[in-house]
Amino acid sequence: MRVNRLFNCAALCAALALFALPGFAKEAASLAQDPVLEKRVDAVSSELRCLVCQNQTIADSHAELAIDLKNQVRDMLRSGNSNEEVVNYMVERYGDFVRYKPPMKPTTYFLWFGPALLILIGLSVLFITLRKRRQRVLDTAPLTAEDTKKIDDLLHAGKQEAKS
């Protein structure tokens, strides 16, 4: 029985491997052809947004458009374009939105500096509040002799109660 099951498993694995092989072989081939090029393709395409599934790069996405765009990147790099030229080509066609790293320009200043600005505002609010509070503590009139005595009595009374 156990042997039988083992055999079944082996058969299944072999079948799966057979099915998996063609796809695997294809991917490996395109990598093996020119690993340097593939590295550049990866670098460029992980900077580009897939417009179909907008929160993925075209390197991560399996959408058809992403695959087409990746092929376009590969072709352009192969024919001697620099990484920057390829990114510019995509920006010309799809706008800045296609870039995962938005460029620095007047319309994106808020995007770039907004977080720092918010932190600054937060820190200054914190600083002002703390200073105000300290001032309030300092401004409070010092205790009179009568107050001190009252405090002492209360503390003392508490101690005696605990003893008894």
Binding site: V52, V91, R93, Y94, G95, F97
Partner: protein, 191 residues
Amino acid sequence: MMRFLVPLVLFVVLGGFLYVGLHLNPREVPSPFINKAAPDFKLSQLQDFQATFSPKENLGKVWMLNVWASWCVACRQEHPLLVQMSKRGDLAIYGLNYKDRPDDAKQWLSQFGNPYVFSLADFDGRVGIDYGVYGVPETFVIDKQGVIRHKVIGPVTPAILSECLTPLTQLLGKDESVESPEMKKVLKKCA
């Protein structure tokens, strides 16, 4: 007083941002091609592979380039409108058959009607990429100088047709400047 005012103002501002966000469509990526020359290409015609077409041949004409495919569901939705438009005959619609199989595409046209002067066969989608196509259907309006003046992302609706495409192409046909007040009004409707 300040204790309540500050959170209230913050809440209202945040609420305002979220409210505006409700009506934005992240899928609508504005095309950087507006007011730029339509990229050149040379493609075979779907119905006649021997014959080719290049946008240069349409200089001096206002025309529309409609990106479609037989596998595209939304294309079917806008198709009757395009057919209706072509019957009126006041505007030339050219098709860009995007990543399709020729037999499927031809079958689709004979089944639903052919509104196009002719369709161009972009089977590997390269021209599509060149035009920044990322979803089908998309429709480009190109003026007499070969400049893209507008792009409709998604299916053309009766409202888009009557408020945007029809007046826009009429004004372009009359060589109205893009800066003229009338044109600006139409373009605002288009946006």
